[in-house]
């Protein structure tokens, strides 16, 4: 009798467990389907637009034909510019936070500020970039202004990954280096950085992925609607992929005809993110294995 009852309870428990678990599995499947749906939608419709001509010619006929060459180049200019600014400063900052600064109020404060900067909405970066770089410093709408704005946006990401990378370096290496008479700077340069470098690099690549897709910060600092020329100086405006996508799916006299271009542009944007994610993963795995040996 009692074993029977216990059996029943156990059965009920098992049943509720399998119901709960199948619901979770179902929801996860839905989430994955949504993602795959978005990717499928962009890939299937964007792929026919993708061609060598699309990647290497100027847009023509009111954005309904031709390619997105200047937008690609513009986005690469912005990636380059922002990383030129943010990468060294971010890495130096990460080194300072992890290697020099002792735990305490100052470190807590800087950490808090870094986290807050990471949470600042991208449109606020746009406002700030416009007020400081475009207007106050008189850079005008330019690659310079856009790159600096995007660089500030990428800073917290680079600082965080650098810090994490440095943290993962075993203290034994540092102690051994000091024991050999090396100074702090020498230890950082010759011992800590080489070990942490691959992880720092993944941070760089991931922030490239983020920077390439941001629209709001470049809206008022650099982006041009139509500029069928490559930039000559850092004071020129450029077209950029995310803004170009925004433009061709909302304006133009013939939206229907420019749809193909929009799908193609979206696909290129996703590919950049995808490639940078994969690249970061490969580097991480490669060095992970190497370090283990």
């Amino acid at each position: 009798m009692t074993t029977d009852k216990a059996h029943k309870i156990l059965k009920r428990k098992k049943l509720s467990q399998s119901i709960a678990f199948s619901i979770f599995a179902l929801i996860t499947a839905v989430v994955v389907l949504i993602l795959l749906g978005i990717l499928y939608f962009i890939f299937v419709r964007g792929f026919p637009a993708l061609s060598w001509k699309f990647l290497t010619t100027m847009p023509t006929d009111g954005m309904t034909d031709g390619g997105i060459y200047p937008a690609i180049i513009g986005t690469f200019c912005l990636i380059g510019g922002s990383m030129l600014f943010a990468f060294p400063i971010g890495v130096l900052s990460g080194i300072y936070l992890n290697e020099y600064l002792l735990d305490g109020k100052l470190k807590n404060f800087i950490n808090m500020m870094t986290n807050n900067l990471a949470g600042v909405p991208s449109i606020v970066f746009g406002l700030f970039g416009m007020a400081l770089f475009v207007n106050k410093l008189k850079f005008g709408d330019s690659i310079l202004a856009g790159s600096l704005t995007l660089g500030l946006l990428a800073l917290p990401v680079i600082i965080r990954t650098t810090e994490e990378a440095l943290k993962s370096v075993d203290d034994a290496f540092r102690i051994a280096s000091y024991a050999l008479g090396a100074s702090k700077l020498q230890t950082i340069r010759k011992v800590v950085l080489p070990i942490a470098f691959p992880n720092i690099l993944t941070g760089l690549i991931l922030s490239i992925g983020r920077v390439s897709g941001e629209t709001a910060p470049i809206l008022f600092t650099v982006a041009a609607y139509f500029l069928p020329k490559l930039p000559h100086s850092i004071y020129d405006q450029v077209m950029a992929l995310p803004y170009h996508l925004y433009v061709i799916c909302t304006s133009g006299t013939n939206i229907e005809a420019s749809r193909k271009m929009a799908y193609g542009t979206a696909l290129v944007l996703i590919l950049i993110v995808l490639i940078s994610n994969i690249l970061a993963g490969i580097i991480r795995n490669y060095y992970h294995k190497k370090n283990k040996i």
């Binding site: 023509t60 800087i110 041009a224 004071y235 405006q237």
Partner: protein
């Protein structure tokens, strides 16, 4: 502590360098020193100007022109600040803009490059084909909320408008609403194309767009300006002879200081081949 000191030094440095840049203001903005011709402003003029640039570049492959949208106010503001060479505007300057421009620049030229008419569009499935100006006003002031009241089907209507930065927004407000404010539930679309798109999708929406944006998938209404006696379709001819009254000139505004830079392109736009592009883009020629 150290970091605080350094950061203080940094801020001081930064502010001092920004001060020095203010003094350099008199020598002109960096932007106007580059060779690139910058055009900025009205969304209505974007596709037209883009096509003009394409035509111009075929003749002058070495020219460098950049085009940015955002609305008439965007262009005029940028012109005031020296961030653009040509401001595209689909409305007249306000008195405030006029005095601000006058303070900064010697002489302002306002060149009319084409004319545009606003078409009132609905979904083709909508049984309504015409409307008086007063009815249109009532829709956009929120006094009419159902198509039934206009003799249509019994369904809530939705009136779409443009962003506040748009020349169409201001022009429609001045000429159809007699200066009264739009109802604040009006969705504000960021471009003409988006309005066309929405109306293609929804049978119960109405909107206004530049005549060049009307496609075969939307229906332009005939409008009466005399209380319902005559209804006029927005065609090129009717706009040209002045019968269709929601028409406006499209301007390029620039300063004579940058005349040398602006003129080659402007002359092309006003030339016969430039005006042909105006017509093929769906706007009305200046002559």
């Amino acid at each position: 502590m150290k970091a605080v000191v350094y950061s203080f030094i940094f801020v001081v440095l930064l502010s001092s360098c920004s001060d020095s840049s203010v003094t350099s203001d008199n020598q002109g903005n960096i932007k106007s020193k580059t060779k690139q011709l910058n055009i900025k402003g009205s969304d209505t003029e974007l596709p037209l100007t883009q096509n003009e640039i394409e035509g111009f570049l075929k003749l002058n492959p070495n020219a460098s022109i950049s085009l940015t949208g955002g609305g008439s106010s965007v262009g005029i503001t940028a012109l005031i600040e020296g961030n653009t060479d040509i401001a595209m505007a689909s409305r007249n300057l306000t008195s405030d803009e006029n005095s601000k421009l006058g303070n900064k620049m010697q002489h302002i030229v306002k060149a009319t490059i084409a004319y545009d008419a606003l078409a009132i569009i609905v979904n083709p499935s909508n049984p309504i084909n015409r409307m008086t100006k007063e009815q249109l006003q009532n829709i956009y002031l929120g006094k009419v909320e159902n198509w039934k009241e206009m003799g249509g089907i019994d369904h809530k209507l939705s009136a779409l408008g443009r962003e506040q930065s748009s020349g169409s927004y201001a022009f429609f407000k001045d000429h159809i609403l007699d200066g009264k404010s739009y109802i604040n539930t009006m969705p504000q679309m960021s471009s003409n194309g988006q309005i066309v798109e929405s109306i293609e999708q929804s049978p119960n929406a109405i909107g206004y767009v530049g005549i060049g944006y009307v496609t075969s998938k939307v229906k332009a209404l005939a409008i009466s300006f005399d209380g319902g006696k005559t209804f006029i379709n927005p065609t090129m001819d009717k706009v040209k002879n002045g019968a269709y009254k929601i028409a406006r000139p499209l301007y390029y505004i620039y300063s004579t200081d940058t005349k040398a830079k602006v003129e080659p392109f402007l002359n092309f736009v006003l030339s016969d081949s430039g005006q042909k592009i105006v017509e093929s883009t769906g706007f009305i020629k200046t002559n």
